[in-house]
Assembly symmetry: C2
Homo-oligomer: 243 residues x 2
Protein backbone atom coordinates (compact mmCIF):
# COMPACT_ATOMS: atom_id res chain seq x y z
CA UNK A 1 0.00 0.00 0.00
CA UNK A 2 2.95 2.30 0.60
CA UNK A 3 4.00 4.31 -2.41
CA UNK A 4 7.73 4.81 -2.78
CA UNK A 5 9.03 8.29 -2.28
CA UNK A 6 10.63 9.82 -5.23
CA UNK A 7 12.56 13.04 -5.64
CA UNK A 8 10.42 16.00 -6.44
CA UNK A 9 12.56 17.52 -9.20
CA UNK A 10 11.14 20.94 -8.56
CA UNK A 11 10.79 24.03 -10.55
CA UNK A 12 12.34 23.66 -13.91
CA UNK A 13 11.09 26.82 -15.43
CA UNK A 14 9.88 25.38 -18.69
CA UNK A 15 7.87 22.79 -16.78
CA UNK A 16 6.16 25.52 -14.82
CA UNK A 17 5.32 27.25 -18.06
CA UNK A 18 4.04 23.98 -19.46
CA UNK A 19 1.91 23.40 -16.38
CA UNK A 20 0.54 26.89 -16.66
CA UNK A 21 -0.50 26.49 -20.27
CA UNK A 22 -1.91 23.03 -19.61
CA UNK A 23 -4.07 24.45 -16.87
CA UNK A 24 -5.53 26.99 -19.22
CA UNK A 25 -6.33 24.14 -21.58
CA UNK A 26 -7.94 22.07 -18.85
CA UNK A 27 -9.91 25.07 -17.71
CA UNK A 28 -11.23 25.51 -21.22
CA UNK A 29 -9.66 28.94 -21.57
CA UNK A 30 -7.59 27.70 -24.49
CA UNK A 31 -9.47 25.89 -27.21
CA UNK A 32 -8.47 24.50 -30.56
CA UNK A 33 -8.02 27.38 -32.96
CA UNK A 34 -7.01 29.92 -30.36
CA UNK A 35 -3.83 31.85 -30.84
CA UNK A 36 -1.20 32.38 -28.20
CA UNK A 37 0.41 35.78 -27.75
CA UNK A 38 3.73 36.23 -29.54
CA UNK A 39 6.65 34.69 -27.73
CA UNK A 40 8.21 38.05 -27.07
CA UNK A 41 5.07 39.22 -25.30
CA UNK A 42 4.19 36.05 -23.48
CA UNK A 43 7.62 35.44 -22.00
CA UNK A 44 7.79 38.60 -19.88
CA UNK A 45 4.14 38.19 -18.87
CA UNK A 46 4.91 34.74 -17.49
CA UNK A 47 8.08 36.09 -15.98
CA UNK A 48 10.43 33.77 -17.83
CA UNK A 49 12.94 34.11 -20.60
CA UNK A 50 12.03 33.42 -24.15
CA UNK A 51 14.22 30.31 -24.14
CA UNK A 52 12.26 28.73 -21.31
CA UNK A 53 8.97 29.63 -22.93
CA UNK A 54 10.16 28.27 -26.25
CA UNK A 55 11.09 24.95 -24.70
CA UNK A 56 7.61 24.64 -23.29
CA UNK A 57 6.07 25.56 -26.63
CA UNK A 58 8.27 23.01 -28.33
CA UNK A 59 6.93 20.34 -26.05
CA UNK A 60 3.35 21.31 -26.77
CA UNK A 61 4.22 21.27 -30.43
CA UNK A 62 5.52 17.72 -30.36
CA UNK A 63 2.48 16.58 -28.40
CA UNK A 64 0.40 17.88 -31.25
CA UNK A 65 -1.32 20.60 -29.28
CA UNK A 66 0.38 23.54 -30.94
CA UNK A 67 1.60 24.64 -34.33
CA UNK A 68 3.75 27.67 -34.94
CA UNK A 69 4.24 29.59 -38.12
CA UNK A 70 6.49 32.56 -38.70
CA UNK A 71 5.48 35.55 -40.66
CA UNK A 72 2.58 37.86 -40.23
CA UNK A 73 -1.14 37.69 -40.68
CA UNK A 74 -4.00 35.51 -39.51
CA UNK A 75 -2.12 32.24 -39.94
CA UNK A 76 1.07 33.30 -38.23
CA UNK A 77 2.02 32.75 -34.63
CA UNK A 78 1.35 29.86 -32.28
CA UNK A 79 -2.07 28.26 -32.57
CA UNK A 80 -3.75 25.55 -30.54
CA UNK A 81 -4.58 22.53 -32.69
CA UNK A 82 -5.63 18.91 -32.32
CA UNK A 83 -3.19 16.63 -34.02
CA UNK A 84 -2.31 13.79 -31.66
CA UNK A 85 -1.54 11.23 -34.35
CA UNK A 86 2.02 12.17 -35.20
CA UNK A 87 3.01 12.58 -31.59
CA UNK A 88 1.55 9.26 -30.55
CA UNK A 89 3.16 7.51 -33.48
CA UNK A 90 6.59 8.92 -32.77
CA UNK A 91 6.25 8.04 -29.09
CA UNK A 92 5.35 4.43 -29.73
CA UNK A 93 7.93 3.98 -32.48
CA UNK A 94 10.72 5.27 -30.27
CA UNK A 95 9.73 3.23 -27.29
CA UNK A 96 9.28 0.14 -29.34
CA UNK A 97 12.75 0.64 -30.77
CA UNK A 98 14.08 1.13 -27.25
CA UNK A 99 12.54 -2.14 -26.16
CA UNK A 100 9.96 -0.68 -23.80
CA UNK A 101 7.53 -2.99 -25.48
CA UNK A 102 8.13 -6.45 -26.81
CA UNK A 103 6.98 -7.51 -30.23
CA UNK A 104 4.41 -9.76 -28.62
CA UNK A 105 3.02 -6.86 -26.60
CA UNK A 106 2.58 -4.81 -29.73
CA UNK A 107 0.95 -7.62 -31.66
CA UNK A 108 -1.47 -8.35 -28.84
CA UNK A 109 -2.36 -4.69 -28.68
CA UNK A 110 -2.89 -4.65 -32.43
CA UNK A 111 -5.21 -7.60 -32.18
CA UNK A 112 -7.21 -6.07 -29.39
CA UNK A 113 -7.58 -2.75 -31.17
CA UNK A 114 -8.19 -4.07 -34.65
CA UNK A 115 -10.70 -6.68 -33.55
CA UNK A 116 -12.71 -3.83 -32.18
CA UNK A 117 -12.07 -1.65 -35.23
CA UNK A 118 -13.32 -4.24 -37.67
CA UNK A 119 -16.29 -5.14 -35.54
CA UNK A 120 -17.29 -1.51 -35.24
CA UNK A 121 -16.64 -0.80 -38.90
CA UNK A 122 -18.95 -3.65 -39.85
CA UNK A 123 -21.67 -1.93 -37.86
CA UNK A 124 -21.41 1.59 -39.13
CA UNK A 125 -18.72 2.30 -41.67
CA UNK A 126 -19.68 5.04 -44.14
CA UNK A 127 -19.98 3.72 -47.65
CA UNK A 128 -17.37 6.10 -49.07
CA UNK A 129 -14.84 4.59 -46.66
CA UNK A 130 -15.76 1.15 -47.90
CA UNK A 131 -15.29 2.30 -51.45
CA UNK A 132 -11.86 3.64 -50.59
CA UNK A 133 -11.02 0.41 -48.79
CA UNK A 134 -12.01 -1.58 -51.84
CA UNK A 135 -9.75 0.56 -53.93
CA UNK A 136 -6.86 -0.08 -51.56
CA UNK A 137 -7.48 -3.82 -51.63
CA UNK A 138 -7.56 -3.72 -55.42
CA UNK A 139 -4.32 -1.79 -55.37
CA UNK A 140 -2.67 -4.48 -53.27
CA UNK A 141 -3.84 -7.11 -55.71
CA UNK A 142 -2.01 -5.45 -58.59
CA UNK A 143 0.28 -8.00 -60.24
CA UNK A 144 3.95 -7.51 -59.59
CA UNK A 145 3.40 -5.06 -56.78
CA UNK A 146 6.51 -4.24 -54.76
CA UNK A 147 6.91 -5.02 -51.11
CA UNK A 148 7.18 -1.40 -50.12
CA UNK A 149 4.11 -0.29 -52.03
CA UNK A 150 2.17 -3.24 -50.65
CA UNK A 151 3.13 -2.32 -47.14
CA UNK A 152 2.03 1.26 -47.67
CA UNK A 153 -1.38 0.21 -48.96
CA UNK A 154 -1.75 -2.40 -46.24
CA UNK A 155 -1.06 0.19 -43.57
CA UNK A 156 -3.55 2.57 -45.11
CA UNK A 157 -6.16 -0.18 -45.32
CA UNK A 158 -5.94 -1.05 -41.64
CA UNK A 159 -5.83 2.59 -40.58
CA UNK A 160 -8.79 3.40 -42.79
CA UNK A 161 -10.89 0.68 -41.22
CA UNK A 162 -9.92 1.97 -37.79
CA UNK A 163 -10.94 5.47 -38.74
CA UNK A 164 -14.23 4.36 -40.17
CA UNK A 165 -15.05 2.63 -36.92
CA UNK A 166 -16.14 6.05 -35.70
CA UNK A 167 -13.90 6.16 -32.67
CA UNK A 168 -11.17 8.75 -32.98
CA UNK A 169 -9.18 7.48 -30.01
CA UNK A 170 -8.98 3.82 -30.94
CA UNK A 171 -8.34 4.91 -34.49
CA UNK A 172 -5.35 6.96 -33.42
CA UNK A 173 -4.07 4.18 -31.22
CA UNK A 174 -4.47 1.62 -33.98
CA UNK A 175 -2.63 3.79 -36.41
CA UNK A 176 0.21 4.47 -34.00
CA UNK A 177 0.60 0.83 -33.06
CA UNK A 178 0.49 -0.24 -36.69
CA UNK A 179 3.11 2.34 -37.59
CA UNK A 180 5.41 1.25 -34.81
CA UNK A 181 5.79 -2.23 -36.29
CA UNK A 182 5.78 -1.05 -39.86
CA UNK A 183 9.54 -1.35 -40.41
CA UNK A 184 9.47 -4.84 -38.94
CA UNK A 185 6.67 -5.91 -41.24
CA UNK A 186 8.46 -4.38 -44.17
CA UNK A 187 11.58 -6.35 -43.37
CA UNK A 188 9.64 -9.56 -42.90
CA UNK A 189 7.93 -9.15 -46.25
CA UNK A 190 11.23 -8.42 -47.95
CA UNK A 191 12.67 -11.63 -46.60
CA UNK A 192 9.67 -13.74 -47.54
CA UNK A 193 10.88 -16.62 -49.66
CA UNK A 194 7.96 -16.58 -52.04
CA UNK A 195 6.71 -13.03 -52.11
CA UNK A 196 4.04 -13.41 -54.83
CA UNK A 197 2.46 -16.32 -52.97
CA UNK A 198 2.56 -14.39 -49.71
CA UNK A 199 0.93 -11.43 -51.38
CA UNK A 200 -1.79 -13.65 -52.83
CA UNK A 201 -2.53 -15.12 -49.42
CA UNK A 202 -2.68 -11.73 -47.75
CA UNK A 203 -4.86 -10.39 -50.52
CA UNK A 204 -7.30 -13.22 -50.12
CA UNK A 205 -7.59 -12.38 -46.44
CA UNK A 206 -8.06 -8.70 -47.19
CA UNK A 207 -10.77 -9.57 -49.67
CA UNK A 208 -12.63 -11.66 -47.18
CA UNK A 209 -12.17 -9.07 -44.46
CA UNK A 210 -13.63 -6.33 -46.57
CA UNK A 211 -16.48 -8.54 -47.65
CA UNK A 212 -17.34 -9.38 -44.05
CA UNK A 213 -17.25 -5.71 -43.10
CA UNK A 214 -19.46 -4.73 -46.01
CA UNK A 215 -21.99 -7.39 -45.08
CA UNK A 216 -21.99 -6.31 -41.46
CA UNK A 217 -20.62 -9.59 -40.15
CA UNK A 218 -18.51 -7.94 -37.48
CA UNK A 219 -17.81 -10.92 -35.27
CA UNK A 220 -16.42 -12.96 -38.13
CA UNK A 221 -14.35 -10.00 -39.32
CA UNK A 222 -12.88 -9.63 -35.84
CA UNK A 223 -11.91 -13.29 -35.73
CA UNK A 224 -10.39 -13.16 -39.16
CA UNK A 225 -8.33 -10.06 -38.51
CA UNK A 226 -6.98 -11.68 -35.36
CA UNK A 227 -5.94 -14.65 -37.44
CA UNK A 228 -4.58 -12.28 -40.08
CA UNK A 229 -2.32 -10.54 -37.56
CA UNK A 230 -1.37 -13.81 -35.91
CA UNK A 231 -0.31 -15.05 -39.28
CA UNK A 232 2.27 -12.33 -39.47
CA UNK A 233 3.50 -13.14 -36.00
CA UNK A 234 5.36 -16.22 -37.11
CA UNK A 235 7.12 -14.42 -39.91
CA UNK A 236 8.31 -11.48 -37.85
CA UNK A 237 11.69 -11.44 -36.27
CA UNK A 238 12.44 -9.42 -33.21
CA UNK A 239 15.36 -7.08 -33.12
CA UNK A 240 16.35 -3.48 -33.63
CA UNK A 241 13.93 -1.76 -35.96
CA UNK A 242 14.71 0.77 -38.62
CA UNK A 243 12.60 3.91 -38.89
Amino acid sequence: MSVEWQPVRQSRTHELVLRSIEERVFAGELKAGDRLPPERELAPVLGVSRSALREALRVLETIGVLVAQPGRGPDAGARIVRNPDDALGRLLRLHFALGSYSLQDVLEARIILERSSFAAAACHAPSEDLDEAEELVRGMAAPGIGVSAFNDLDTRFHVLIARSSGNALTSTLTSAVRESVRPLILRALEEAEDWPATARALNAEHDTLLMLVCEGRGAEAADLVEQHIHGLHGTLVDGPAGP
Copy 2:
Protein backbone atom coordinates in the same frame (compact mmCIF):
# COMPACT_ATOMS: atom_id res chain seq x y z
CA MET B 1 -6.18 7.26 -54.05
CA SER B 2 -4.39 10.57 -54.44
CA VAL B 3 -2.73 11.88 -51.32
CA GLU B 4 -3.03 15.61 -50.76
CA TRP B 5 0.13 17.62 -51.04
CA GLN B 6 1.19 19.32 -47.92
CA PRO B 7 3.89 21.88 -47.28
CA VAL B 8 7.21 20.40 -46.44
CA ARG B 9 8.10 22.71 -43.59
CA GLN B 10 11.77 22.06 -44.05
CA SER B 11 14.74 22.36 -41.90
CA ARG B 12 13.84 23.53 -38.52
CA THR B 13 17.12 22.83 -36.88
CA HIS B 14 15.82 21.20 -33.76
CA GLU B 15 13.78 18.81 -35.85
CA LEU B 16 16.85 17.77 -37.75
CA VAL B 17 18.61 17.15 -34.48
CA LEU B 18 15.62 15.16 -33.28
CA ARG B 19 15.62 13.11 -36.45
CA SER B 20 19.31 12.45 -36.07
CA ILE B 21 19.00 11.20 -32.50
CA GLU B 22 15.93 9.15 -33.39
CA GLU B 23 17.83 7.45 -36.14
CA ARG B 24 20.55 6.43 -33.74
CA VAL B 25 17.87 4.95 -31.54
CA PHE B 26 16.26 3.08 -34.42
CA ALA B 27 19.65 1.81 -35.50
CA GLY B 28 20.24 0.46 -32.02
CA GLU B 29 23.25 2.70 -31.46
CA LEU B 30 21.50 4.32 -28.53
CA LYS B 31 20.03 1.97 -25.97
CA ALA B 32 18.33 2.51 -22.65
CA GLY B 33 20.95 3.42 -20.09
CA ASP B 34 23.34 5.06 -22.52
CA ARG B 35 24.55 8.55 -21.83
CA LEU B 36 24.61 11.34 -24.35
CA PRO B 37 27.62 13.62 -24.58
CA PRO B 38 27.30 16.89 -22.67
CA GLU B 39 25.25 19.51 -24.44
CA ARG B 40 28.26 21.74 -24.85
CA GLU B 41 30.12 18.99 -26.70
CA LEU B 42 27.25 17.58 -28.71
CA ALA B 43 26.01 20.87 -30.10
CA PRO B 44 29.15 21.78 -32.07
CA VAL B 45 29.53 18.16 -33.22
CA LEU B 46 26.05 18.30 -34.74
CA GLY B 47 26.78 21.75 -36.07
CA VAL B 48 23.96 23.48 -34.22
CA SER B 49 23.67 25.83 -31.32
CA ARG B 50 23.04 24.63 -27.83
CA SER B 51 19.55 26.15 -27.89
CA ALA B 52 18.51 24.08 -30.87
CA LEU B 53 20.00 20.96 -29.36
CA ARG B 54 18.30 21.65 -26.07
CA GLU B 55 14.92 21.96 -27.75
CA ALA B 56 15.39 18.56 -29.30
CA LEU B 57 16.48 17.09 -25.98
CA ARG B 58 13.46 18.64 -24.33
CA VAL B 59 11.22 16.88 -26.78
CA LEU B 60 12.88 13.55 -26.12
CA GLU B 61 12.55 14.23 -22.44
CA THR B 62 8.82 14.80 -22.62
CA ILE B 63 8.18 11.64 -24.59
CA GLY B 64 9.97 9.71 -21.90
CA VAL B 65 13.06 8.75 -23.84
CA LEU B 66 15.54 10.93 -21.98
CA VAL B 67 16.23 12.17 -18.50
CA ALA B 68 18.73 14.87 -17.67
CA GLN B 69 20.35 15.60 -14.37
CA PRO B 70 22.78 18.38 -13.56
CA GLY B 71 25.78 17.89 -11.42
CA ARG B 72 28.70 15.59 -11.77
CA GLY B 73 29.29 11.89 -11.46
CA PRO B 74 27.89 8.71 -12.92
CA ASP B 75 24.25 9.80 -12.66
CA ALA B 76 24.66 13.24 -14.16
CA GLY B 77 24.06 14.24 -17.73
CA ALA B 78 21.48 13.13 -20.27
CA ARG B 79 20.60 9.44 -20.24
CA ILE B 80 18.37 7.33 -22.45
CA VAL B 81 15.52 5.80 -20.46
CA ARG B 82 12.21 4.03 -21.03
CA ASN B 83 9.41 5.87 -19.35
CA PRO B 84 6.54 6.26 -21.77
CA ASP B 85 3.77 6.37 -19.18
CA ASP B 86 3.92 10.00 -18.14
CA ALA B 87 4.24 11.22 -21.68
CA LEU B 88 1.33 9.16 -22.94
CA GLY B 89 -0.83 10.23 -20.03
CA ARG B 90 -0.13 13.90 -20.58
CA LEU B 91 -0.80 13.54 -24.29
CA LEU B 92 -4.17 11.90 -23.85
CA ARG B 93 -5.23 14.21 -21.02
CA LEU B 94 -4.46 17.29 -23.08
CA HIS B 95 -6.16 16.03 -26.19
CA PHE B 96 -9.17 14.86 -24.28
CA ALA B 97 -9.44 18.30 -22.72
CA LEU B 98 -9.12 19.84 -26.17
CA GLY B 99 -11.94 17.71 -27.46
CA SER B 100 -9.91 15.59 -29.84
CA TYR B 101 -11.72 12.64 -28.34
CA SER B 102 -15.26 12.46 -27.13
CA LEU B 103 -16.18 10.96 -23.82
CA GLN B 104 -17.78 8.05 -25.61
CA ASP B 105 -14.60 7.38 -27.55
CA VAL B 106 -12.60 7.24 -24.35
CA LEU B 107 -15.07 4.98 -22.61
CA GLU B 108 -15.17 2.59 -25.55
CA ALA B 109 -11.40 2.49 -25.56
CA ARG B 110 -11.37 1.83 -21.83
CA ILE B 111 -13.77 -1.04 -22.31
CA ILE B 112 -11.73 -2.58 -25.10
CA LEU B 113 -8.49 -2.30 -23.18
CA GLU B 114 -9.77 -3.32 -19.79
CA ARG B 115 -11.74 -6.29 -21.09
CA SER B 116 -8.47 -7.59 -22.41
CA SER B 117 -6.60 -6.63 -19.23
CA PHE B 118 -8.96 -8.50 -16.96
CA ALA B 119 -9.12 -11.49 -19.22
CA ALA B 120 -5.35 -11.70 -19.39
CA ALA B 121 -4.92 -11.05 -15.68
CA ALA B 122 -7.24 -13.95 -14.95
CA CYS B 123 -4.92 -16.17 -16.94
CA HIS B 124 -1.57 -15.23 -15.50
CA ALA B 125 -1.56 -12.55 -12.84
CA PRO B 126 1.23 -13.01 -10.29
CA SER B 127 -0.11 -13.74 -6.84
CA GLU B 128 1.57 -10.74 -5.24
CA ASP B 129 -0.36 -8.49 -7.61
CA LEU B 130 -3.57 -10.19 -6.58
CA ASP B 131 -2.67 -9.64 -2.94
CA GLU B 132 -2.09 -5.97 -3.62
CA ALA B 133 -5.34 -5.75 -5.56
CA GLU B 134 -7.19 -7.30 -2.65
CA GLU B 135 -5.67 -4.71 -0.36
CA LEU B 136 -6.83 -1.93 -2.67
CA VAL B 137 -10.35 -3.34 -2.80
CA ARG B 138 -10.39 -3.55 0.98
CA GLY B 139 -9.19 0.03 1.14
CA MET B 140 -12.08 1.16 -1.02
CA ALA B 141 -14.50 -0.65 1.25
CA ALA B 142 -13.39 1.35 4.27
CA PRO B 143 -16.44 2.98 5.88
CA GLY B 144 -16.72 6.69 5.36
CA ILE B 145 -14.10 6.81 2.65
CA GLY B 146 -13.90 10.10 0.79
CA VAL B 147 -14.60 10.49 -2.88
CA SER B 148 -11.07 11.56 -3.68
CA ALA B 149 -9.41 8.72 -1.80
CA PHE B 150 -11.82 6.27 -3.41
CA ASN B 151 -10.99 7.56 -6.85
CA ASP B 152 -7.27 7.20 -6.18
CA LEU B 153 -7.62 3.61 -5.06
CA ASP B 154 -9.96 2.80 -7.90
CA THR B 155 -7.48 4.15 -10.43
CA ARG B 156 -4.69 2.17 -8.87
CA PHE B 157 -6.82 -0.98 -8.90
CA HIS B 158 -7.57 -0.78 -12.59
CA VAL B 159 -4.00 0.13 -13.47
CA LEU B 160 -2.66 -2.67 -11.32
CA ILE B 161 -4.80 -5.23 -13.10
CA ALA B 162 -3.63 -3.87 -16.43
CA ARG B 163 -0.03 -4.14 -15.35
CA SER B 164 -0.45 -7.68 -14.08
CA SER B 165 -1.85 -8.70 -17.45
CA GLY B 166 1.75 -8.99 -18.55
CA ASN B 167 1.50 -6.66 -21.52
CA ALA B 168 3.45 -3.46 -21.00
CA LEU B 169 1.87 -1.67 -23.94
CA THR B 170 -1.77 -2.29 -23.16
CA SER B 171 -0.97 -1.58 -19.55
CA THR B 172 0.44 1.81 -20.41
CA LEU B 173 -2.48 2.57 -22.69
CA THR B 174 -4.98 1.51 -20.07
CA SER B 175 -3.34 3.67 -17.48
CA ALA B 176 -3.20 6.69 -19.75
CA VAL B 177 -6.80 6.35 -20.85
CA ARG B 178 -7.98 5.85 -17.29
CA GLU B 179 -6.03 8.91 -16.16
CA SER B 180 -7.48 11.05 -18.90
CA VAL B 181 -11.02 10.63 -17.58
CA ARG B 182 -10.01 10.70 -13.95
CA PRO B 183 -11.12 14.28 -13.28
CA LEU B 184 -14.46 13.54 -14.90
CA ILE B 185 -15.00 10.48 -12.76
CA LEU B 186 -14.03 12.44 -9.70
CA ARG B 187 -16.58 15.10 -10.50
CA ALA B 188 -19.26 12.54 -11.21
CA LEU B 189 -18.66 10.82 -7.90
CA GLU B 190 -18.72 14.12 -6.04
CA GLU B 191 -22.10 14.90 -7.52
CA ALA B 192 -23.55 11.49 -6.77
CA GLU B 193 -26.71 11.97 -4.75
CA ASP B 194 -26.14 9.02 -2.46
CA TRP B 195 -22.41 8.54 -2.28
CA PRO B 196 -22.33 5.74 0.34
CA ALA B 197 -24.75 3.67 -1.72
CA THR B 198 -22.76 4.31 -4.89
CA ALA B 199 -19.59 3.28 -3.13
CA ARG B 200 -21.20 0.08 -1.88
CA ALA B 201 -22.36 -0.81 -5.37
CA LEU B 202 -18.96 -0.16 -6.88
CA ASN B 203 -17.28 -2.11 -4.12
CA ALA B 204 -19.50 -5.08 -4.75
CA GLU B 205 -18.47 -5.03 -8.39
CA HIS B 206 -14.81 -4.74 -7.49
CA ASP B 207 -15.16 -7.67 -5.12
CA THR B 208 -16.71 -9.82 -7.80
CA LEU B 209 -14.17 -8.71 -10.37
CA LEU B 210 -11.27 -9.64 -8.17
CA MET B 211 -12.85 -12.96 -7.31
CA LEU B 212 -13.35 -13.80 -10.98
CA VAL B 213 -9.76 -12.89 -11.76
CA CYS B 214 -8.44 -14.96 -8.86
CA GLU B 215 -10.45 -17.96 -10.01
CA GLY B 216 -9.25 -17.57 -13.58
CA ARG B 217 -12.70 -16.87 -14.99
CA GLY B 218 -11.44 -14.34 -17.50
CA ALA B 219 -14.42 -14.22 -19.83
CA GLU B 220 -16.82 -13.40 -17.03
CA ALA B 221 -14.42 -10.81 -15.62
CA ALA B 222 -14.25 -9.15 -19.03
CA ASP B 223 -18.03 -8.98 -19.29
CA LEU B 224 -18.36 -7.60 -15.80
CA VAL B 225 -15.74 -4.91 -16.24
CA GLU B 226 -17.49 -3.79 -19.39
CA GLN B 227 -20.70 -3.51 -17.43
CA HIS B 228 -18.78 -1.78 -14.64
CA ILE B 229 -17.47 0.90 -16.98
CA HIS B 230 -20.79 1.22 -18.77
CA GLY B 231 -22.35 1.84 -15.40
CA LEU B 232 -20.25 4.93 -15.00
CA HIS B 233 -21.18 6.10 -18.49
CA GLY B 234 -24.63 7.19 -17.41
CA THR B 235 -23.36 9.19 -14.49
CA LEU B 236 -20.65 11.05 -16.37
CA VAL B 237 -21.28 14.43 -17.83
CA ASP B 238 -19.32 15.74 -20.73
CA GLY B 239 -17.67 19.10 -20.60
CA PRO B 240 -14.38 20.81 -19.86
CA ALA B 241 -12.25 18.66 -17.61
CA GLY B 242 -10.00 19.80 -14.84
CA PRO B 243 -6.49 18.39 -14.58
